[in-house]
Symmetry: C2
Subunit: 450 residues, 2 copies
């Protein structure tokens, strides 16, 4: 639905909610896709949301709940009584149920777990045992596997048995007598080959799987690299224990991109979905305090050179340009390196080569900008020595920031630390301080106290 | 494959290439997945790459070529003779062939189009007619559709006919007598229902499709919202004319995220995959020049207030902290708003509410940081009025930058301009200048010339 259609629908249903015209309301909501209904709920006030949500069957309520952003999901589950929440969890796919369940407050989850159907309870216990950012943490247990010795007819019977539980499936995975993943059969082959064909005769044995403990970022990279739509998850004996669907992978890709954006911008990641001004302020304060501290160190640096500024007041004019250029160069270099490492376009095999390239880039742009600034300053203030001094400082500052901005993320990556940590606060603040030091030292050394 | 495995494989095959041990080389490469082979080629020198690539069958060469990053893909196609390139294009899926074909130099593409198989030629002519950033530009023509009046048995025959051409398919789309999309049938239903069942009796009629002219970003949003794996593409008569697969959607998501990162960092988007220092320098220069210009304007602003700085030299100490805090606040606000708009977490229906929240956030953080800075300055320089002046200035600067940083992207979005344009250069540079103006005006008004 477009934003316009939402608005129209909102105007239509709001009076129905107010007038408690529930039958009419149910009719208006019935044709909606769960995703649209979820979006609609996000645009309602809390009270209205509760009224609408209570009209849904447990199955539909569950589908809607998994599509809603975490803060609103939590607000809805808080308002549900234990019995209704249990009904909803019983209906959901194991991975979606785990997501909702693991966001419940501890005391409540202990109550709920006892009310669930025994099968669902076991699944939730297993899945909540994995770290949320691993393959185990995002996998579901709804899949079909057949023994390699069975026939297509037997495979079809197995699919029929599970067809209620498994909503979408495009592949049947093949296991040996020990449950180890040995192949994959497409639905197309099941459809086209004779019914008594043995699975082992039509299966593809090169099946790409991920380990249950694999980092979700690595899972996403594998899915992208091999253009997969489903990934089987195996344990350390290579036994098939779960599956990850492409929509969960897309969530991971979005999550990781948002994380990198947040780091670059110096805000906490959870903030993106947050609406309370106080919580947002708190999420942004840390970087502001880093900036404040950095700014105070810069003040101390300038104070240290106050003799030079007293002699040549124009030195203060160029503090902003030195800072801005150092900052820009550093952000450009670090962002490109961080993004390149994230998408795999920069390989750590060739780190040295990349660093060299970045140094050349900084040198070229430094010389160009330095000469330009030098000219402008010389003519504006009719002071050639000052122009040369400011220009040379700018070259040094750009060269330094470019090197620093590309080196730090590569260094972090080398030591398996998330390189995106180098974005935002640290590089910018360090560049500010060191840029000022370089600038004021050069000018003082050559112009003020030669 | 892990980076370690690549390195090992590289060490293994490099001597084979040098010694022209092509048979041995073919044996080493045979078990590799095309995606791994593509990665391997990216790590070879140009000459080595040509040797390895010439060993591949046209079909495998095509699969590898579609997985390689654009600059290296172009270098490979440049080295292929027309006949070989034609063979490869004949083998590829229509969307992949279009990608490679549309990157060829104009004169060459005119030669190649005449050499292609007639069927492929027609497909390429049709697909290159669509804008590359629309549904038409990323769709392929390999899909299976059946008439709603036909039976499962007939559908299976149609799948059999197309099973060579269509590699992966999980759904069969259903059309009416005019070719209009009316439903979808899952492979599961084809497998489980009796063979003489009519398609119209088992099809799902709520099938989500995209218009051929739809922006690729909107297509990606629809795929994410409705958890799709394949999207049918329709023309303005709702006729089914193509399909988009999930791996192409993931490419779009990555592309859009990279675009936003590039805008934030102030580099050209193409740069990410670029390796030549000169080209990288050129891609980064525009923002550096914006920064240089902004810095010179800042210099003029400070020069305008040079009388104040002569009287209170310490004013120059706090130029960096004012600039850094304004910059940080602006980047935080704009990034969160831009990202929120991109992921749909911020809805334009509630722009006013979001702006108000951002103002509160800026006010809270401004007051906290302003008071902190005011205290430090008062004690450090034993100058209470200066401390109060600097603190109040910081509050004003943070309030202004927060408002500006969130307002501009929302404004751009309102007028359907990509809000990510507001990231990076413009907001930061404007904030620097206006921050300095606010700071120096306040101090001059109340402390220097009361």
């Amino acid at each position: 639905m477009s934003q316009g259609e939402y608005k129209k629908l909102l105007d239509e249903i709001k009076p129905m909610i107010e007038n408690k015209a529930y039958e009419e309301l149910e009719n208006s909501l019935a044709p909606l896709h769960p995703a649209d209904l979820a979006d609609l709920l996000e645009h309602l006030e809390t009270e209205e949301r509760i009224s609408v949500f209570s009209l849904l069957t447990p199955e539909r309520a569950g589908e809607v709940l998994t599509q809603i952003s975490p803060p609103i999901q939590e607000s809805i589950t808080n308002d549900l009584d234990d019995q209704r929440l249990t009904q909803i969890l019983n209906e959901l796919d194991s991975d979606d149920a785990t997501d909702i369940f693991s966001r419940l407050p501890r005391e409540r989850s202990e109550v709920i777990i006892r009310l669930l159907n025994p099968g669902v309870r076991e699944e939730l216990k297993r899945l909540t045992g994995y770290r949320t950012d691993t393959a185990g943490g995002i996998m579901g247990l709804e899949f079909v596997s057949v023994n390699s010795e069975s026939t297509i007819g037997e495979a079809i019977e197995k699919i029929r048995e599970k067809s209620e539980e498994v909503e979408k499936f495009y592949f049947v995975w093949v296991v040996d007598d020990h449950g180890r993943l040995v192949g994959v059969v497409s639905m197309k082959d099941l459809l086209l080959e004779p019914i008594d064909t043995k699975i082992k005769d039509i299966m593809k044995t090169e099946v790409i799987s991920v380990d249950v403990g694999a980092d979700q970022e690595d899972v996403a990279r594998i899915v992208k690299q091999y253009d997969l739509t489903h990934v089987p998850v195996v344990n350390d004996q290579h036994k098939l224990i779960g599956r990850i669907t492409i929509d969960d992978i897309i969530d991971v890709i979005d999550e990781e991109a948002s994380e990198d954006f947040s780091l670059m911008a110096g805000v906490m990641d959870q903030e993106l979905a947050e609406e309370s001004a106080l919580k947002i302020s708190r999420a942004r304060l840390p970087w502001l305090l880093v900036g404040l501290l950095g700014g105070l160190v810069s003040a101390i640096v300038i104070n240290h050179f106050h003799g030079s500024i007293e002699k040549i007041l124009a030195l203060s004019f160029f503090i902003p340009v030195i800072m801005a250029m150092g900052g820009n160069t550093g952000i450009q270099a670090s962002t490109v390196v961080i993004r390149g490492l994230a998408t795999g376009e920069i390989s750590i095999i060739r780190i040295g080569k990349r660093l060299l390239t970045e140094l050349w880039v900084a040198l070229i742009n430094g010389i160009l900008c330095g000469i330009l600034l030098g000219f402008v300053v010389s003519f504006w203030l009719s002071d050639l020595p000052l122009g040369i001094g400011v220009g040379v400082s700018l070259i040094m500052v750009i060269l330094f920031s470019g090197a620093f901005g590309s080196f730090i993320p590569l260094l972090l990556k080398k030591f398996n630390i998330d390189p995106a940590l180098a974005a935002g606060p640290f590089i910018t603040t360090s560049n500010d301080i060191l840029g000022l030091l370089i600038y004021l030292s050069i000018i003082t050394r050559f112009l003020v106290a030669p």
